[in-house]
């Protein structure tokens, strides 16, 4: 991906040159309004207010959009359908028969065994995001785009769902958008900070994600990243 991201005539990100490695977790960090979500929507081929002046292509040259699954901050579950039907909705939307057993197995893997017939209203926020994760896994796509899917959860729940996602999405090309440096440090193989001027790569601890949040290397990396983001924000303002 290369070029600049614009919303109308307003420049959001000037020189964008990003290579997201296949089969890894890439985190894109940045303040609200910098165009993180726009970038993700562009990758997914979804309608978007901003447009990319430049190129966006996959390493193998094939189109990206049909290989994408997405998880957003809002779980996007159907309120009228039970957990199981929510997991199979994408297949049913394509007119494929729902593989109920596979869906139930995925729900069990995200820790919701026995809750297949619950409606979203009768599930907690964390459980709903687990259903959304099972739905994403059911799609079995090579590219998974995560638009702050953990940011609305409370700290403890966030931690468990992050671990779950890290385990279950391993091996896929994951793009995680977040404004939380701790989340990027914890989950990403590679990470960038997005600013108006462009993008800056982050230095991550040498260990493999998911990294233990209490490890000294994680904490110092977090502190360094936070400092760097502050500096970049100050430069952007000046």
């Amino acid at each position: 991906m290369a070029g600049s991201l614009k919303a109308g005539d307003t420049l959001l990100i000037d020189s964008l040159d990003l290579t997201l490695p296949a089969g890894r977790w890439s985190a894109l960090l940045g303040p609200s309004g910098v165009g993180k979500t726009s970038l993700l929507r562009l990758i997914a081929g979804l309608p978007c207010a901003a447009h990319l002046k430049g190129r966006l292509k996959a390493g193998d040259g094939a189109p990206i959009a049909p290989r994408v699954a997405m998880m957003a901050q809002d779980d996007q579950l159907l309120p009228w359908a039970c957990a199981l039907d929510n997991v199979t909705i994408c297949a049913r939307l394509r007119g494929e028969p729902a593989q109920t057993e596979r869906a139930a197995a995925l729900l069990a893997r995200v820790g919701l065994g026995g809750l297949e017939r619950r409606k979203p209203a009768n599930l907690s926020a964390g459980q709903r995001q687990r259903v959304a994760l099972a739905r994403t896994l059911y799609e079995d796509r090579a590219v998974v785009l995560l638009d702050e899917p953990f940011s609305a959860l409370d700290a403890m729940t966030r931690h468990t769902v992050q671990d779950l996602a890290a385990g279950l999405l391993a091996g896929r090309t994951v793009v995680l958008i977040t404004h939380d440096p701790a989340e990027a440090i914890r989950l990403a193989d590679v990470a960038w900070i997005l600013t108006r001027a462009g993008i800056a790569p982050c230095i991550l601890p040498p260990t493999m994600p998911p990294r233990a949040p209490e490890a000294a290397a994680t904490i110092s990396a977090q502190a360094a990243l936070l400092k760097r983001m502050r500096l970049l924000a100050a430069q952007g303002a000046g």
Partner: protein, 252 residues
């Protein structure tokens, strides 16, 4: 305290009883002639004495009303779905749907009676027309208001418009259909009455007109009360449907 503890139904009955008492008191105290304002006892008497006549006419009106509502609902739902499914249909018909809201369809009743005669067809067409537009537009508005998150989901899944409408838009739009129905059950009985006033040889509206012409004001009130009960039944049906569906479909 006691008033709070009472259920809605009992509170309604209490208010009704008080209203009836005031009505009777006004009639007794002012001595207003019975052909101007009959008291509730006289109306009850008229209801009892003419039970067979009222029942016969009520059945006719109720029959027309149900048929007209069924046609209006069916066509309204079909139109909304067609518009949601086809961009071309939207382009062509959406302006009509907007403009039709502004046309007082009730005013068409005399023309419809002129074209279709005094019998059942003119009543059914009037009722269907009056109920069609609120249902079509309320359902259509909600069909087009799919939350952006669900629209993304549909697009990423690679869903066709047909399945998207059936699996996402339609279940989401059920509250829209119900608000259309709420309007329809208010307009429907009005349409029956107007249709029968314009020209009919049967029905509660016709009975009211006849009774009025003969100075049988109590009978007129009795017919009016029966029509009100009919409306109430329809309203309760929609209310029950709405509660059932909001529970079944888990809307917040």
């Amino acid at each position: 305290m006691m008033l709070h503890a009472m259920s809605g139904l009992w509170r309604g009955c209490l208010v009704l009883l008080v209203a009836l008492a005031i009505w009777q008191a006004v009639v007794s105290l002012t001595g207003v002639p019975r052909f101007i304002l009959p008291g509730p006892t006289l109306v009850a008497q008229a209801l009892w004495d003419n039970a067979a006549l009222i029942w016969e006419n009520a059945l006719w009106s109720a029959g027309n009303l149900s048929l007209g509502l069924a046609v209006g609902i069916f066509l309204g739902v079909e139109t909304a779905l067609l518009l949601a499914l086809s961009r071309r249909a939207r382009w062509l018909l959406r302006p009509m749907l907007v403009v039709a809201q502004a046309v007082p369809v009730f005013a068409l009743a005399p023309v419809i009676t002129l074209w279709l005669g005094y019998g059942m067809p003119s009543k059914i067409v009037t009722i269907a027309l009056v109920t069609y537009f609120p249902i079509a537009s309320a359902l259509f508005d909600r069909l087009m208001a799919l939350p952006p998150g669900l629209a993304d989901l549909s697009r990423l899944s690679g869903a066709g418009r047909w399945r998207e409408t059936l699996l996402l838009r339609l279940p989401y739009a059920v509250p829209g259909l119900l608000s259309g129905l709420r309007l329809a059950v208010v307009y429907g009985p009005l349409a029956v009455l107007i249709g029968e006033w314009v020209g009919s040889s049967q029905g509660l509206g016709h009975l009211m007109l006849m009774a009025n012409g003969r100075g049988q004001t109590a009978l007129m009130f009795a017919a009016l009360i029966v029509l009100a009960c009919l409306s109430l039944c329809l309203w309760v049906t929609v209310e029950v449907l709405s509660r059932w569906s909001s529970k079944r479909l888990s809307y917040a």
